[in-house]
Amino acid sequence: MFHAATLFLVAAGLQLVFGVQKIVNLACGSFYALGAYFGISLVTWALQAGLPPPLFLPVLLVAGLLLAAIGPLVERLLRLIYDRDESFQMLLTFALVLMFEDVIRRLWGTSPYQLGQIYLVYGQLRVAGLTIPVYNLIVIAAGLAIAVLMGWLLARTRFGRIVRASAENRAMSEALGVDMSRLYTRVFTLGTALGTVGGALVVPATAASIEIAVELIVEAFAVVVIGGLGSMRGAFVGALIVGIMRAVAIATYPEVEMLAIYLVVVAVLVLRPAGLFAKAAA
């Protein structure tokens, strides 16, 4: 479940950016990793500066949000090739994956980073014979909250309506006076923030390492394919499915852990090619 929450955050970022801008951002995993590393650094610094432990969570959020500032920068870069084939944009994000990997290595070195036990400051709960750190539940709750928030944002606010309209029909929106470039910047930054915040939130209970960027992409893609490209609800359901499948596989038949997810992907593709909640393919 915990895993599902993190997957959802990353997949949501992917979906958002794709839905509006039709860009598949391979670097979303890198944003996640950057959020994780930066989160650790910021919290460590804050603790040394005297921050009381229970406040580390807001610091993490701040770290994630701060790092989302790279979003507009990356978007600027992508903007240079908006009018090209989508494959080019995907390729540019692949270039970013390579570059970010070395940036992380340069800034934080090759060893994985961890935050120690601080996340236990919120205590533990016994649920159905299992002991679960409250922090994990907080992250799951945060994932849910963000899902709800995104849903509300897209459905109820003006911003959301513009986003959805532009996703359906860009030309029309532009004709109606929507400033596309500003919208794109905002959407991309939001998508980035989902990734960086996701990374920052997850890291206290796990660790930050360079591989997570590259590994997460694969699972995020599985989520997106299962849920359907461009759909926020799809990201949510997809993440749930993948998370549950993984937990079930580990508990029952660990050998197929990796394969199980891909098999579901293939099954969805065969049965319902557009994914479970797909919007109309552009």
Binding site: L130, T131, S209, I210, I212, I250
Partner: protein
């Protein structure tokens, strides 16, 4: 300008500048000794790779400060160890292009398997740091000439299993394993079970989990382990997964309720914080324990240097790497004596390396006739009685490869089953 043409001209020019056509120039008898080093720079094992490089560097600096090998200083040529295919190409570059006199390094199993035959084909002397499995050695390199390997992977599991049997016989009924999902993990788990059987421990394996190397989230695994309520959990985690798993297991209450055996986590010992690592856990440090009270002056000096320079305590990979440097030096000197004082060829160095005992950081070491290392392994039960925020072991126990590594020519399980207990 046409780029194709430019590239070809460059190669053409470089080619004609080479000495002779198709004939490799003879070894320079003067000038530095080129030691190629393959270092992992990325991925889960990057830190281990870095350790190895540090050990190599220290060894080379000491040798050079002492005048080098037969008067020639060692020059390191560092290349990256990555995927097997790319590493094979770097190895070839070191051998063919850089004309390295010896190549050291090599940690991951896939790379080790690929490089063995390549070393033989190129007639390039290769002293690997790690990267062995039983299967690999048997299948691909029955009679290696140019390749020299480290100890078998199962040594740590075997030593830990013996200690387990001695301490906990009759106290445990069920065991669970959580090991990285590749040959190292599988071989160690299998070895553990074989030793448990040999000692008539009467334990039943109730779960074995195989997270992929590099996993950072073990919550599902921890939950699965909580369900089976095993008396003992066995793990050969050697990278960040060790501390992450322990942290998450502790948070879920699995620790300290369960006995633990962590065969190789000593390599990342500084991350095993007291906050979540229990006392009384069997912990293995591979071939070097940084705080061994019986450590040699050499080790103490290295540990001190390492801590002062990097603010970290060293791990076993530095020891493996250091050994390759000094073993090479000693072998060259030994072979030169036999060759009448001339710089020996690789073919002359090889018999000199076999059986030659050299002092490494953790004690005396040597290569067997079949080119596998013989060294000492250090493990113990963890304790909090120290000045750090991470666990150490006390007392630290040492076993040699004579006790924990199978001799050449025998199958692993046949050897175990033939023990007298």
């Amino acid at each position: 300008m046409n780029t194709t043409r430019r590239n070809f001209i460059k190669i053409l020019g470089g080619g004609t500048a080479a000495a002779g056509i198709g004939v490799a120039p003879a070894f320079a008898q003067t000038g530095p000794v080129k030691m190629g080093v393959l270092v992992i720079k990325s991925g889960v094992a990057a830190q281990v790779g870095e350790s190895g490089l540090r050990g190599t560097q220290w060894g080379v600096d000491r040798v050079n400060a002492g005048g080098g090998i037969l008067g020639r200083k060692i020059e390191l040529v560092v290349e990256e160890e990555s995927s097997p295919k790319d590493t094979v190409e770097r190895f070839r570059k070191l051998a063919l292009q850089n004309k390295a006199d010896v190549i050291t390094g090599g940690i991951s199993t896939g790379v080790g398997l690929a490089l063995g035959p390549v070393a033989e084909e190129l007639k390039a002397l290769w002293l690997s740091w790690d990267a062995t499995t039983q299967k690999g050695v048997e299948e691909t390199m029955p009679n290696p000439k140019y390749a020299f390997r480290s100890c078998d992977n199962e040594c740590e599991a075997i030593m830990a299993s013996i200690i387990t049997a001695r301490n906990w016989k009759g106290k445990i009924k069920t065991v669970a394993g959580i090991n990285p999902d590749y040959s190292y993990g599988r071989d160690n788990w299998a070895a553990f079970l074989a030793v448990m059987k040999r000692y008539d421990m009467g334990v039943t394996p109730v779960a074995d989990l195989w997270p992929k190397l590099g996993t950072t989230d073990f919550t599902s695994h921890v939950a699965a382990l909580q369900q089976v309520k095993a008396d003992l959990i066995f793990s050969c985690f050697w990278a960040a997964d060790a501390s992450i798993f322990l942290k998450q297991a502790h948070a879920a209450g699995l620790i300290p309720a369960t006995r633990l055996v962590f065969t190789t986590a000593g390599g990342v010992h500084e991350t095993l914080k007291k906050a979540f690592t229990p006392e009384g856990m069997i912990l293995g440090y591979n071939t070097m324990y940084f705080e061994d009270p019986k450590a040699s002056a050499l080790q103490k000096e290295f540990v001190k240097w390492h801590y002062e320079k990097f603010k970290e305590w060293p791990n076993y990979e530095s020891d493996h790497a250091y050994f390759t440097v000094v073993a090479y030096k000693a072998a060259v000197e030994r072979a030169a004596k036999a060759a009448g004082g001339k710089w020996p060829t690789a073919e002359q160095i090889i018999p000199a390396l076999e059986g030659l005992e050299v002092e490494s950081l953790s004690g005396m070491r040597r290569y067997r006739q079949d080119h596998i290392m013989e060294a000492n392994f250090y493990q113990g039960l963890t304790t909090y009685k120290n000045a750090y925020d991470f666990v150490t072991v006390n007392p630290v126990e040492m076993m040699t490869t004579k006790q924990v590594q199978k001799p050449s020519g025998v199958g692993l399980y046949d050897w175990i089953n033939g023990w007298k207990v």
